[in-house]
Symmetry: C2
Subunit: 201 residues, 2 copies
Amino acid sequence: MAILPAPLQDLINALERLPGIGPKTASRLAFFLLRAPDDLSQQLAEALQQLKQATGFCNICHNITLSSQQECEICANDQRDASLICVVEEPSDVLAIERTDGFQGRYHVLQGVISPIEGVGPDDLKVKSLIKRVADGGIKEVIIATNPSMEGDATALYLRRQLAPYGVRITRLARGLPVGGDLEYADQNTLLRALAGRQEL
Amino acid sequence: MAILPAPLQDLINALERLPGIGPKTASRLAFFLLRAPDDLSQQLAEALQQLKQATGFCNICHNITLSSQQECEICANDQRDASLICVVEEPSDVLAIERTDGFQGRYHVLQGVISPIEGVGPDDLKVKSLIKRVADGGIKEVIIATNPSMEGDATALYLRRQLAPYGVRITRLARGLPVGGDLEYADQNTLLRALAGRQEL
């Protein structure tokens, strides 16, 4: 069997390391890039090189920001409610919540989740700076928006314990049936949570 | 709504231009690359830049090869049957056929297919060099392995007409039910072709 030219094989190998991209997709993308106008692979290559060089993390909330800035745009924005902190696992979670247009407070990005299996403890996360933000005062409520998973729940419980002494309101995102979902296809746990969390009509 | 830092948004925009990658996947890949070790985005960026610089096309069959080589590995391989030419549309088709390990001849890559809708005529493809290869003699059979589509069929008919004067055997890949497929779910045309092409058991 003939071997692909090394540059093409290299690209396929690199693409295969991306999540959700298997050998077939990687090969399809590589052949597409081969035929595509030069500026596409150039644009991709430049964006990849810029990614790590030009981005950094906000000194306050640890969300992703330009490396030239100390604070992210949300922390630097006076219009946002500084007494309300939404704690999330990853920068992509900030984007998801911002898209709803339903939250006007600030964020705190843990940059991970407590996971004994993967050997990630509280000290590996941005927990200390969260406690400091709350201890410094001016915070009324901390919304814990870690994922509705085992690890997310464990992290939420840990944070609740750590933040309890400061007397701030601590909340967690509601669990229940997804909007547009079908009761018949909801899994048992979701249905149990939806029952337990039922609300007055 | 907060805007993503420009370098991240640039990468998402570039990824979205790839086939089969929508806004959600692009965003997921970009956030993954942000957290991934530096060498992954570096490896990808380098592979992308190398792709066009270091690859070229074989002078004989127009398959992809290293830009430092005049001929691809298949054309340069004396072990391969030079009297048998398999005509395909794209370099990726060569890979697909090589993977079967069932073909020991040479290839000819048209680098496209005749498509009046997209304004692609025979002169835009590597047809002339195919005719020259056949005219130069030594060829016994030309297998036309363009896609089993309208355009692929039209191209096959066109090539048959062009190659007829040279008295070589001209064949086309068999059409029928895909192996492992289900008769019930086969489309009408495939079933018609499978009936018409039925073989003695």
